[in-house]
Each structure stands twice: as C-alpha cells, then as structure tokens.
C-alpha cells in the first residue's frame, strides 16, 4: 500500500510537470499582447517594455519557466497579470463554488443514475426499462448549455413573471451566508449538470447490474432463500458498483477542475468560469494555476479510485 502510494504520487508529479511544460510552451507559441492590453490604447512602446519587464515577459521562455517552477515548488503559483492577486488566492476563491456545484450534482446524478440503472436491470425490456433508457439518452444527447438555458427560462424567468421568485437568475451565495440561499442558487445548476451525467450512470449501472445478476453467486443467493430485494442490493449492487465508482471518481476529478459550461450559463464564478476569463485575457499565471490544479484533481481522483477499488473488492491488491 505504501509502495503503491509512493509510486502513484510520483507518477502524478511527473504528469503535472509535463502538463506545466506543455501549457507554458503553448502559451508562448501563440502571439501574446498582454503588455499591450495592460498599457491601454495609448501606451507607448516604452510603457509596454516596462510592463513586459515587470511581468518578467522579457526574459527567455526557459528562464520564465524555471522562475515559475521554482515558485510553484514552494507553493506559490505566481500573480495574475492584471491585479497582481496571488493565483492560489484566485483558485481559493473559485474552488468552493465549483466544489459545491460538483458535489451537489454528484449526489443527484448518482442517486438518479444508480436507482434508474437498477430498476432497468431488474426489469429488462420492460416499459420502465425502455422509458428510463429513453429518459437517459434524451438528456445525454442534450446540449448542456441549452438544458441550462431552458431551466433558467422556465424555472427562473417564467416562474418569476408568474410571481414565484423561487430561483435566482444565477450567481452564487456562499454557504457561510446560510444554507437556504446557497441551496437556492445551486439547485438549477445541480439539476442541469446531474441530468447530463445521470445518463452515463444509468447505462453503466444497468449494464454492470445485468452482468452481475447473471452470475452464479446471484443464483446461490436466491437458492439461500433470501429476499429478492436483498439479492439485488446486497449481492448484486455490491458487485455492480465497482465500475460505477471508477467512473464516479474520474468524473468528479474532472469536474472539480471546473465545470465550464454550467458555470458560465448560471454565472457561477467557479474555476471553469475563472479559467475562461483568464484565457480570454491571456493571463498565463492564472491559466497555468487552474490547469495544474485541475490536473492534480484528476490525478488524485484516479489514485482514490484505485484505493476504492481495493476497498470494494477483496481480490484486488494494491502494489
């Protein structure tokens, strides 16, 4: 187990390093006009040169990179070009929003996906199965921004016009300001994100569950005379959940790094939206910071998935 962790963390650091190199290289391949933008329309070449010098943009790329790397190792991801705010602070501001969005949606999509998948698998080819499959595929193939906009149109715009101002138009209310407003602001984004992802989980659970229900040990469970509900949940779902947990870890890891579309539609200033703004402004330190953070989230999620795998299945040994 210790060896496994050391090896996987080592791999993770290697991955993060490669990503930082790649992002740095990409940024300098594209033409940059950060200094120009900062200097404004009337900025003289001298001003621009001064700004470049201040930001370290006049140094050779490899020096800039080493400078970044040296600071990053000490936990300093640099400062954004425009307001000189520490990147770690920017991430710290945006992260709770993205985490709130991702975790809340995760609860919804897991519950929805696993429940529907089990119903589908225990009643294969029934009306319920077909209906749930249709439901899943419908939202799966639905563009996520459109789903968000439709939810906003009906549940915010039309409802508010009719005098029911239950949902805000968007934005975020921190949990510190009370659970009510937080919940109110996040419910629609949760639903939009969860409906999209629930489809994958419905299909995954259904397929995995159908495989498991055909296993010999399920027949053994039935031959023991235990209740069918217990056969399905305790014996069937227990085994069928393994691929679901894997997928869940990977999805959650990805979402923690930012949910671009949903955050944008619902004006949630999470990591996704922050990253989009940073890209538009060519704000390299912020871009790199968020990309590295998102990559780290995926790497950590993958390690956790493998550990979860060993916890779920006693036959799996980590080494």
């Amino acid at each position: 187990m210790a060896m496994f962790l050391i090896r996987r963390i080592g791999h993770g650091i290697l991955v993060l390093w490669l990503i930082s190199v790649a992002v740095f290289a990409l940024f300098f391949v594209a033409p940059s006009n950060v200094a120009q933008t900062l200097a404004g329309r009337q900025g003289t070449p001298e001003t621009i040169a001064l700004i470049k010098h201040r930001l370290g943009l006049d140094l050779p790329v490899w020096q800039q990179y080493l400078h970044f790397l040296g600071n990053a190792v000490k936990g300093n991801l640099g400062y954004d070009y425009y307001h000189q705010v520490p990147v770690t602070h920017i991430i710290g501001q945006a992260l709770p929003i993205t985490v709130s969005l991702a975790l809340g949606a995760a609860v919804l999509w897991l519950a929805l996906g696993v429940f529907n998948g089990v119903i589908s698998a225990t009643h294969p080819r029934s009306l319920a199965d077909r209906g749930l499959t249709l439901f899943a595929l419908f939202f799966y193939s639905f563009p996520s921004f459109l789903l968000g906009l439709l939810l906003l149109y009906f549940l915010y715009f039309r409802l508010t016009l009719s005098g029911f101002g239950w949902f805000p138009a968007g934005g975020y209310a921190p949990l510190a300001g009370g659970i009510g407003p937080w919940f109110q602001h996040l419910l629609l984004p949760w639903v939009a994100l969860a409906l999209l992802l629930a489809a994958t989980y419905t299909r995954l659970t259904r397929g995995s569950m159908l495989d498991v229900l055909g296993e010999d040990y399920i027949r053994t469970a039935r031959s023991k005379g235990i209740r069918e509900s217990r056969v399905v949940v305790v014996h069937g779902l227990r085994s069928a959940l393994t691929p679901v947990v894997t997928q869940f870890g990977i999805d959650l890891g990805q979402l923690i790094g930012g949910v671009v579309v949903t955050e944008t539609v619902f004006s949630l200033p999470g990591l996704g939206q922050t990253a989009v703004t940073a890209i538009n402004q060519q704000d390299l330190p912020v871009i790199i910071g968020i990309v590295l953070f998102a990559s780290a989230a995926v790497v950590v999620a993958n390690i956790l998935v493998d550990i979860g795998y060993a916890v779920l299945d006693p036959r799996v040994r980590l080494h």
Partner: protein, 325 residues
Amino acid sequence: MALLQVRDLKVSFDTPDGTVRAVRGLSFDVEAGQTLAVVGESGSGKSVATQTITGLTRGAKVSGTAYFDGTDLITADQATLRRLRGAQIGMIFQDPLSSLHPQYRIGWQIVEMIRAHDLTISKQAARKRAAELLTLVGIPRAAERIDDYPHQFSGGMRQRVMIAMAMALDPALLIADEPTTALDVTVQAQVLNVMRRLQEQFGTAIILITHDLGVVAEMADEVVVMYAGAVMERAPRRDIFYRNHHPYTQGLLASLPARSEDRLTPIPGTPPSLISLPKGCPFAARCSHVFDKCSEPPPLTDVGGDPRHQSACWLPHDVNEAVAS
C-alpha cells in the same frame, strides 16, 4: 408418499428462434434420505428441471406438479418457495469458483443463510454454527478461516463451503447440480465423501445431477437417464449398470473410459434441437438399433415386469439381459 414427487413436468422458453422445450414431461420421486441421480449430457434439461422446481428459472412456461412435503412447488408463490429454499431445500452448484460471492467473507455468507430463515438466532450463535459446519465439511482451522474470502480457498475447499452453507439449516433435500464436475478427480472423491457423510448424519435426500456415471456408481440409489428433455430410462443403480435397456443408457456406459479398452466409444451425432424435435424417439437419429417403430414416440414402460425399472424404447422389454451382455 415420497419426499418430492414430480409428475409430468414441462418447461419451455420462448425465444426469438422458437419455443425451446427444455423439459418434456419429467416424472420422478425422491424418497427421504435417498439419492436420486439425474444423468444426461449438456442440454438434456436436468438442471432446468430442478431449478424450475425451486423457483429459480425465470421467464419459463411451466406445467405439471412437484409435491414437496405436501406443497406443490409449481403453483406455490415466490414467497413460499423462498421460505423453502435454503431452509428445506439446499442447493449446491457446478462451479464452486463462481458460486460464492467474491466480495463477502465465507462466514458472513453462511451466517446470512442461517439468519435469512430465523432472525431469532443471534449473529454470534449463527457464527458459531457456521464454524461448526465448516469443521463438519472438513475445513481445517475453521474458526480462523471463517473470516477469509472465497478466493483464499481452493476449488475443492470452496465446494465444501458451499456444502456447509447448503446444509446449514439441515434441509430435507439437497440438490447438487454437477457438484464435482469442475474439480480435480482426487478432490471429487473427497467432496462426494463429505456429501455422503452428511447425508448419513442428517438423513438428507439428495438429487444429484451429473453426467458422470462414475459419480452415479459412487452415490446413487435410483437413477433417471434424461435425453432431450425427457426420461429415457429409470432404474435402481444396479440395473442401470448391469441390466440396462435403453440404447442411450448403453451408449453412455460405452463412452466411459474402461481399463480394458484403449479407445472410448462415443455416441455418434449430436442431440436434437429442442426447438424442432423429431416426432418419434428423440434418440432415433443416433441410435444403432433404430427401426420403423422409432418414428412414433415411445412410452415409458416397465422393463422385465419391474415397476421400478422403466425404459422409453420400442425394443422388446424382455430381452434386456441379452442386450446388456
């Protein structure tokens, strides 16, 4: 009356290719404490028949009766069957490697079985009982191994665990569906020994499904030979081996390895499709004795005036000794 009395059991499945008639009019009795061997090759309907009786077949059309201790299992509802399964009818299956849940400890699996039918038994008591059962089936250091997972046991040991679980509630009937097929020959004998020992100790009746006539010789009191979903011959064990009548039974015996011959004698051809069965005897196409009469379905009739020995074959029923020798 017999412990289990099956009469004219028919099981069929609707498939896109047509109706598969897996069991076509099966009748047999199992007496308390006795062993009935059901013999036949793959697809002869032997497993389907017993799984249907215990309510484990899904999506099948079933007719006939199967009286177990006064209850007709065919018309009984799932709740009744569920209460019988495990408590009155224990089951073990072919592949011990896949028959135990890989993610639960074996002790947990046996305790679940015990407490599924009697919640008044405490977890501690059930666990103690599980350890006793494991000792009983010959698992060394049972008290320690009770917390091991199935993959920590060999195939033979896992089948012993299955037997311990199936026998946990002292069922009146044990259905063993090819219990030794997946095991090494030396381990087979040990597992059969365990079954026989427990049968003597608890007085359990056994339905032993097998295609291995060696196992039949070892274990059976009565034998039913099935082919294409129907009974070809039924007889006490000795008669099956020494006074058999049906050419299919003879074919099965001839295909056994014997020390005197160096080559096996297989039965030529393959079993008929269960979707489009021939009108007459289902074995006719592979039978070396086939004649005109075989295009009509042969009834199951007594051989040599003995009602315990019946054969579904048009060959004269008084020449059986001449044929067998």
